[in-house]
Every structure is written in C-alpha cells, then in structure tokens.
Symmetry: C2
Subunit: 393 residues, 2 copies
Amino acid sequence: MSSIDLEGLLQAIRTVSGLEREWVGLHEPIFQGNEWEYVKECLDTRWVSSVGKFVDRFEIELAQYTGTQRAIAVVNGTAALHICLQLVGIQANDEVLIPTMTFIATANAVAYCNAIPHFVDSEEKTLGLDPKKLENYLDRICDLRPEGCFNRDTGRRIKAIIPVHTFGHPVDLDELVKVCDRFKLELIEDAAESLGSFYKGRHTGNWGRVSALSFNGNKIMTTGGGGAIVTNDKDLASLAKHITTTAKVSHPWAFNHDRIGYNYRLPNLNAALGCAQLEQMPEFLAKKRAISQKYHQVFNQVQGVSFFLEPEFSRSNYWLNTILIDRTEVEQRDKILERTNSQGVMTRPVWTLMHKLTMFENCPKMDLSVAEDLEKRAINIPSSVFLAEDDES
Amino acid sequence: MSSIDLEGLLQAIRTVSGLEREWVGLHEPIFQGNEWEYVKECLDTRWVSSVGKFVDRFEIELAQYTGTQRAIAVVNGTAALHICLQLVGIQANDEVLIPTMTFIATANAVAYCNAIPHFVDSEEKTLGLDPKKLENYLDRICDLRPEGCFNRDTGRRIKAIIPVHTFGHPVDLDELVKVCDRFKLELIEDAAESLGSFYKGRHTGNWGRVSALSFNGNKIMTTGGGGAIVTNDKDLASLAKHITTTAKVSHPWAFNHDRIGYNYRLPNLNAALGCAQLEQMPEFLAKKRAISQKYHQVFNQVQGVSFFLEPEFSRSNYWLNTILIDRTEVEQRDKILERTNSQGVMTRPVWTLMHKLTMFENCPKMDLSVAEDLEKRAINIPSSVFLAEDDES
Ligand SMILES: Cc1ncc(COP(=O)(O)O)c(C=O)c1O
Ligand SMILES: Cc1ncc(COP(=O)(O)O)c(C=O)c1O
C-alpha cells in the first residue's frame, strides 16, 4: 500500500500554484516591465536584426549581471554550447564529459562537433554531477599524458567537461575545478538554467573558461528564443563574436570570411525583450524564492515526497521547483504525473537519461546509479514567477 | 582613360535613392503594416517562444504565398539550408554542387554536414549557375552508377546541388532539373534572396525537393532573424519540423528524442513580425519593381555600366539591384565602391568567390571564369522598399 495521497499532493501544489487556475504550466514568462517600450523602439527605428543597440546593451548588461568580463548574445542556449565547445578547441573524436541527467542540448552540442559525449553520474545534494565520484572514475580509466587526458579504453582524448546547474541549482564548482585541474579538462558550465544562481556568492558561469546561458521561453527570463556565451577571457569573447557572425572579416564592403562560421547572432528585436527582462531579474528572483519557500512549507505536510532544497553552498534561482519521491514509493511516479497533468497542473519527470537514447546508447559512461535513482524520483512542479502574485486570477 | 564618370554614376544612384538622404543603406526593412499589433499581441498573451499561433499562421501563409505544400519556420536561412541538406540525405564526405558566387551560408551549410562543396560556374543571363556548362562538366568528370553520381577524380558521391537565385533572379530551373534528373542529383533551391520571385509563373522554391528562404534584416521582408524550409513533400515537411524541434517525440510529459536534432524553431515573436510583413509583400514587390525601373532608366544615360535586368523567363523581386561594369572598365570597380560608400551611398561588390576563401580553397571546382568575370563587374546598389515612397525625407 502506498503512503502517497495523490489528492493531497495535488492540493499541495495547488495551494502554491493557485487554487482557482484551471491550467497551470511549468514555467511561463511574464512581461510587466519595459518590454513593450523597447520592442516598439526596435520597430520604430527599424533596427530589428542582428545589429542594433539592444544587442550591444544586452551583452554589456549580461556581463555586469553575471559578473563576467564579456557576454555574447546568440540565437539560443544550444548554439551557445556549440560555440563554447569550439572555443575550447574540441576536435572530432574528442570525448566530452557531461551528466547523463541533462536536457538533450548538452549532448547534441557535443555531437555537432563530431565529438563523443561520455556520461557522468549525478549527486543527490545538487542534482548535478558528482566531482568526487568522477575523480575516482577518471583515476581508474584515464592515462594522463603531457598532451592531456586519455581514455584508456577508447584511446580517445577526454578534452572537456560540461557540468549542468540542474533546475538552477549549482554543482559543487570548487570541487569540480580541482578535478579539472588534475585531469587537464576544459571546463564549460551549462548555465542555461541558472541565470540568477550563485555559488559561494559568485554568479554561476564564472568557473568555466566559457559558459552558456539560455533565454528560451521556459527559462527564468526570456528573449523569445535566445542564449549567451559568458566568459572572463576577452580574446575568447572576441573569437566567439567572430565565429557567431559567419566569421566575416570586418570591411566597409568586401565579404571575406576566414573560417567556417555560424549565423548565431541574436536579433535586436529579441535582445530588446532581453534588456527589459534583465531589469526585472531581482524581482523575479525574490518571487521565485517566495514560491519555493511556500512549496517547502506545504510539502512538509505531504507524506512520501520531499521538496528539494538548494545546496548549502549556493543561492539558487529555483528555476524549476522539484520534489523527490521517497525510494519506497517510486512506483507512484507515473500516477502522480498522470493525475496532476490530467487536472491541468503541469508536472514532469527529469529528462530521459542521455545514455538511454538510441543515438547515444553506445557512448562511454561510468556507473550512473545515482542518476538512475533520481530519474525515478524527481518531479518538477509549476514554478512561474507570476505564481507569487497575490491577487492573480 | 576611363569612360566612367564617377560623379555621374553617384548622381544616377542618388536620383533613385533620394537626393536629400545623407546616408542610404543597401537594403533596410520597413514596418508600416500590422507589425506593432501582432508583436504586441505576442507580449500580451505571453506566447513569445517557439510555440504560438503566429508561428503556425506564418507557416501556413508562407506555404500559400509560395504555392508550396508546406513551410517550416526556422531561426534563419542558414539553418534552413543545413536542414535541407539533411532532409535529402547528405552524408559526411558527399560532394554538394554549389555556385562559387554565393553568400557564405550556402557553403557553410554543406560544411556543417561534413560534406564537401564542389564549386560551379555562373552565367551572366541569370547571375546564377549555368545548367549547360554544368552538364558538360559533369559529363566529363562523373561516373554514373546505379547508386548515384560519382566524381571520378575524388571518388566521392556527388549527391546534391544547391542553385542560388542571386539577388532575387531565378536560375534557369527547367534546364537545371534536366541535369539533376540525368545525374541523379537532389535539388535544393537556395531561395534566401528570392521570396516574391517567379520562374515561368511559379514561385521559386517549388523545383527543389526542399528549398530554403531567409527573412534576415536585409531581405525583402524580415522577421528580425529568420528563415524557412518550403517543400511539396509532406513527409519531408514533418521530418523537418521534427529535426528542428530537437527531434523530441511527442508526449504529455516525457522527454524522449529519437535522433540528433536542433533547436532551430523560429520564436513566435519573430513569426508575428513575419505575418505582418508577408501581408505587405504585394506592395513591397510593386515598389521594388518601380525602383528597378527607375534605375534602368537612369543607367541608360551612364557610360561604362549597365543595369542588370531579370532573365526573360522570370519575374524577379529585384531584391538587390545590380549594375555590371563594362569589361573594359573593371579597374574602376574599387573606385566606384570607394566613392559611393564615402558619400553615404552604400554599394558593394558580390561576395568574394567561395573557392578563394582559405577554408574552401582545396575543394573541387570546375572552370569558374564567368563567375570570376562577374566578380570584377557586379555592384549592388541601394534597393530598400522605402526608396519608392514619394515623400520620404
Ligand atoms: C540544461 C540545458 N542546456 C541547454 C539548453 C538549451 O537552451 P536553448 O533551449 O535556449 O537552446 C537548455 C534549455 O532548453 C537546458 O535546460
Ligand atoms: C544566398 C543566401 N543563402 C543563404 C542565406 C542565409 O540566410 P540567413 O542570413 O537568414 O542565415 C542568405 C542570406 O543571408 C543568402 O543571401
């Protein structure tokens, strides 16, 4: 007999996400600042495309907000990851360590470079990758040579690692940096979900040589579709801008390009939205925190599940609030998902683990038992900023 | 002694592009329709991202407008070409025939597939590739086998061809289709520049198995940044939609992906702009035609250059108006470019030919003498729709 009361659980979510709402999504945007003013300015000035003052401004303000030296706005977070990998010198057939528990974009970006994802386990404390377990694993499988770290089994170079700050919660970056230093791994943070999340007082995205952000419609703030590369390395920043603008060599009229490049620049129209949203981040974060605190409270009364709290070393944006089902109750997961979704309360499990997908099933991997456990237990619940409004109908 | 009168030429451009304008660009957008209304609706309804009614509507209306069965909106024309190549089954190491005289995106898209661009010459009649010259060339270098067409020299399969409708002028599609049939080549039209251009009464993009459009800020209509795949093959259309939405398998909550996919969907915000712009295409086309007619007239009086006219089998959108310098005067090209640009009248030569760029210089190519000749002679002149307004300041 299950100890989870489905109706009680549904009621708990509704207490926070709005008792009167007929339908509540997982994460929807809200536009109550200067969005319309800025977007209108784009149309009025006819600067809607890849050059324009909002792109410049958005890049400057993103760098300020994240405390990085430079930000390069791009069409989305996937494009940002793709370019990050090129910036750190990923070559065809290199292996790149990524958590098996992540959104598909992390693995796809590796595949775009003709490189091979190598799947790493997570830890329950952060929902992100486990530096200690990783170190032990690399100790067992790697050859450390002057040219880098090699997988003894496949013979391939392991060149980089992409930790993901899952649902906004930072991984243990200090511990991870130690592992990267020891094994000569380039560090790229997938900070797509962690805008507004801080690790030991500093914004995520500052530990990677380059890091990726996303402003997709479901993120804490949005540009419609969009993303950014942030970095403290100004040379890499210039290179990022070059590669994302078709590698065109600057000239008043001639069209020369000096390498394979991409049309990855964020349009000014989308950057205008981004500027307005970024101004509201302090307010968004306060509201997100209020929502997570309410959830924490109500879930204290619900048997069989626990509300996931930020790791003690971090201040998280609580992008997607998460509950973990007790290990004894994992067979209830799909019932919870079915019941809530059928009642108009959108919930979802974590992504199908990457190593289980057809196109990645033959990629190298370590023991992934913690991720497998979390996959059975984690459920995301409605988390939109506007759920914190007092009198929204 | 040159017979080109630089001041006379500058004056000729100014007569059409506005005598009082201090600065005139090559092609700038104009927003005088429902742009505001639709964009505001996006913000008000909070549907700004990759799902939304304007995306659906834009796709339906694009298909109607181009007379194709289906259109799939994507982040830009480069992404559209990339996916088109995947849709026709391009594999690593295949060769893809493309004109050497094109924008970098055509060649880059081939490179993204780890395939090899094989450069083809142009003809002066269309500024696009020359089907007859191509056929003779393929006759000489190819082995036709049951599995396809093979380059005898490199041993690689020649799998597809991407004609470009240069500056909006359609290539001779009927002749090209014959060559494709004979040599079993998949046809992809790069119609990035030819929205509103018709070949023998039918819209460009209908001859390719799949074709690519662009709505970049400099195109005849814009979405800020954007593009589309159009096709008459409904199965390929469904596949295109699948691949461009991360190949996610539809499910109320589970995240499964069945192949390497892309985040290439056009945001609803940009599609809203697109819907408003598309409504104005008839007006845009009429104005573009009026501009090109005026240019044609004034350039009749200018020695040493001629105004490029649409091929007789087509009705062109005259996206970028073009003059050709007489062969005896080609050393004047840079002087014309310098003088006009320094006077605030933006002009530019064609793109540096692809086979001259470092990253493509070792790719296979045929004799490219016509393109080399056109590169020395062609200059684009200001062509924005609003140049046709009577009383614009
Ligand atoms: C962990 C992670 N990485 C990468 C991305 C890719 O970002 P985008 O959707 O903007 O391409 C996302 C968001 O969708 C994400 O959640
Ligand atoms: C011939 C041609 N192909 C492809 C593209 C790529 O389109 P986009 O700039 O939207 O990526 C363009 C336009 O820039 C183009 O002119």
